[in-house]
């Protein structure tokens, strides 16, 4: 476990804060003086999971580095909705890179800081799944290979949402996108394609890799904090539902992330130097239908028992592979 769950305190560590917990057991987001690195007035859609995930992660990294942080940001939703020239919602040093080279910009900034003897200032590079798993993948792999002192944050909303919802290599099987329409004998995205970048990152044997979800804030913050305590290349992929691209209600964003975790669709784990070192257990297991049903992109999947069972098998495999259920005593 990346953080010790506190039980029996009304809501324990399941909510953002909890007046019954000691201050240090609460999240950064629960503090009145959190940095709000991504401030109000940005132009993300209602209920944007990426806006939420980015504030969660960066505020936490800011706290861990005593506000000495620089971010490189690849082109994509996150850049477009936060920084339409000449406005910016970022309240911290922030650089806009090309679509594909955020990792390389991060590497360069880290190198410059090293040369200047300012290694107390830390660097994150961030982007969406398109800029990470497809277009920026070469730069990312290089950053891993050289073990550059950068934390790369991938906000995974499973497609190119900014440009009109096209498929990326993080789009799950069955999903409807503008380029994988639900037509023909095998509707939606193919089941046998796509990349698992957290596992690919682990294959580089970098010091730290983790997956996180916006519904589990204590877990997410503990992972970012841990990543910032380590030097070298680090990678965290955060699950961020997209109401626009997924065809879900804005109010469902956090719940969808929760259902993805509770169904086994999105396994939460940590890996160090190529080895899985911890997994976050499912709290109350749900069938994948609970996750799929509120999303229009899966409407045809839910209607078809065969594809539905294929998705359930993927979730079951994750549960087996990562050991996501508590041992039955």
């Amino acid at each position: 476990m990346s953080h010790q769950q506190v039980k029996f305190y009304q809501t324990g560590t399941l909510t953002v804060g909890n007046r019954l917990l000691d201050a240090e057991e609460r999240t950064v987001q629960a503090t009145i003086d959190r940095s709000n690195s991504l401030d109000s007035g940005h132009r993300a859609c209602q209920g944007c999971g990426e806006a939420l995930g980015a504030r969660y992660a960066i505020d936490s990294a800011m706290r861990a580095t005593n506000n000495k942080l620089i971010a490189a940001n690849s082109t994509g939703c996150l850049e477009v909705f936060t920084t339409p020239y000449p406005e910016s919602s970022w309240t911290m040093p922030w650089i806009h890179s090309l679509f594909g080279n955020a990792a390389a910009i991060g590497t360069g900034v880290a190198a410059a800081l090293k040369v200047k003897g300012k290694e107390d200032i830390r660097v994150v590079a961030q982007g969406g799944d398109g800029g990470t798993t497809d277009i920026g993948f070469g730069c990312l792999s290089g950053m891993f290979e050289r073990n550059d002192d950068v934390l790369f944050l991938c906000y995974d909303n499973q497609g190119y949402m900014n440009t009109g919802v096209q498929r990326s290599s993080a789009t799950p099987g069955g999903a409807r996108t503008a380029t994988t329409m639900p037509v023909g004998p095998e509707p939606g995205a193919d089941f046998d394609k796509g990349k698992n970048v957290p596992l690919i990152a682990m294959a580089h044997e970098i010091p730290y890799v983790a997956t996180a979800s916006i519904d589990r804030l204590h877990d997410l913050e503990a992972k970012v904090t841990k990543a910032m305590s380590i030097r070298g290349a680090r990678y965290i992929q955060i699950f961020v539902p997209c109401p626009l691209g997924w065809g879900s209600a804005p109010a469902q964003t956090v719940n969808l992330a929760r259902m993805a975790v509770e169904s086994g669709i999105w396994p939460l784990f940590e890996g160090e130097n190529g080895e899985i070192t911890s997994v976050t257990k499912i709290r109350k297991k749900v069938p994948v239908e609970e996750y799929l049903k509120p999303q229009r992109r899966f409407a045809h999947v839910v209607k078809n028992p065969e594809t539905l069972s294929t998705v359930q098998e993927i979730a079951d495999r994750n549960i087996r592979k990562f050991g996501l259920l508590e041992e039955q005593g």
């Binding site: 009304q10 953002v16 009145i32 401030d39 109000s40 007035g41 940005h42 504030r55 406005e87 309240t91």
Partner: protein
Amino acid sequence: MNNTKPYAITLDVGGSLLNKTGSWRTERPVYLDRLPPCNNTCPAGENIQQWLYHAENGEYKEAWLEIMKNNPFPAVMGRVCYHSCEDACNRVHLDDPVGINSVERFLGDQALINRWKVEPGKSSGKKIMIVGAGMAGLACAYHLRLFGHDVTIFESSSKSGGMVRYGIPKYRMPNEKLNAEIHRIQDMGVTIELNTKIDDVIATKEKYGFDAVFLSIGAQNGNLIDIKSDQSIPSLIAIEILRGIEDDIATGLHGHVVVYGGGNTALDVARSAIRMGAKSVKVVVRKSQDKMPAHYEEINEALEEGVEVVPLRSISEIKKGQLILEKMKASDGKRPKATGKFESIEASVIVQALGQNVDESFLDNLTDLKLEDGVLEVDAHMMSAIEGVFAGGDMVPSERNVTVAIGHGKKAARNIDQWLQGKFQKPSKKHEIADHSMMNTWYYSDAPRTIRPMLDAVRRQSGFAEVVGDLDETNAAFEARRCMSCGNCFECDNCYGVCPDNAVIKLGAGKRFEFKYDYCKGCALCATECPCGAIKMEPELI
């Protein structure tokens, strides 16, 4: 200021706060307080959720003081209240209801151990007369003292406490706790005149110059039905037996005891008989066992102790030392029907526990008042047909239990105070009830209920030791923390955290939150992820 901009820049560089995204909104989140079902159902009008809130934090004195705003008998109620609050508790949808009653008892006992007190209000110079030192009368006296009025209670018996003392056996309500809570009220300046039966209320009022009267004489006369009998088995009345046990008078409960009736009093007698060494105890009920009016906990405890319930039987005759019972047939939604089939059982004594009624003789000198269906009518302010004479407790139309009586005492005291000031106030409007469906219960930790320790059945059969034990300091807080705070913010920070637009302001501990409507886009994540249902989405009026 230099208006020349650098090359190719036409706009001022700035933060995004200029962009008021609140204009996108079609619905706005609103913080509200909903009425939790426990508070809604409490006959004494306790703010249960609020005192649990203090107890969660180990602030036991604050919790106790919160109870005392509405109920001066936490140690008594923590034992004898039938806790309708727990039946209404939303936690039942997760696991078990919160053990509200056990926490209340713990707090009540803590107050007695630590001698916590409540101060009376500033003297108003008004004098109130109360007839009957039962729970309604004592509660009324307490609240009147909080308002600063002088109070004298006249009680016909030799002890105060009414039905809690005389109707509830010691294994459920130990005397020392009752005495201590009554003493605490007396210490606030309430005079109780024992052994004083008031024959003429108005004359007494005028003689001593009382400004108002509260009648709470209860319903102390046991109903008795005629059973055809050859007098071979003595027939007794339940309420008189319970009174006899309290005053240590021989009750005649021995051998094979048969109790007739299915209410709490019937079971109190049956359970007392077990403790007094009866050979067997049967409770004969006309209804089926699941339709018995007694509280289910009382029935279960009685069965564990060896009481036998004989449902769907009516007693038709006492003959040659035997009881002739007629079998009854249950019929949907109606009273059971006689079948004309009979059986007989052995009995040494039979006890009738078929309800109680109000002693009518008190009306002899109150000719303006009369009983209707055996009870005294009062208006919405608990005032009788005589101006300035209020009444409550078992003698007025309502459910008869201790908690209701305490609620009547409080309500009457408030109305008496307003009447003395010349005007009744309108009651404040109730909030909408917090329903389970308005909440996001995923967030609540799994936490099974702390069951109060029970004396094992064998030990209870031989004495009047208290049956239900106490929570201790650690598990009382634990039990309180099972409260989900339905409908009222408990500052979990979820709204503050889950807003993608940073449009929720945290005001600091105890001050809750505010929305920045300039930036709130109306996504409703805050309302959806609020565990307790304290945020509502309302349409934006355009």
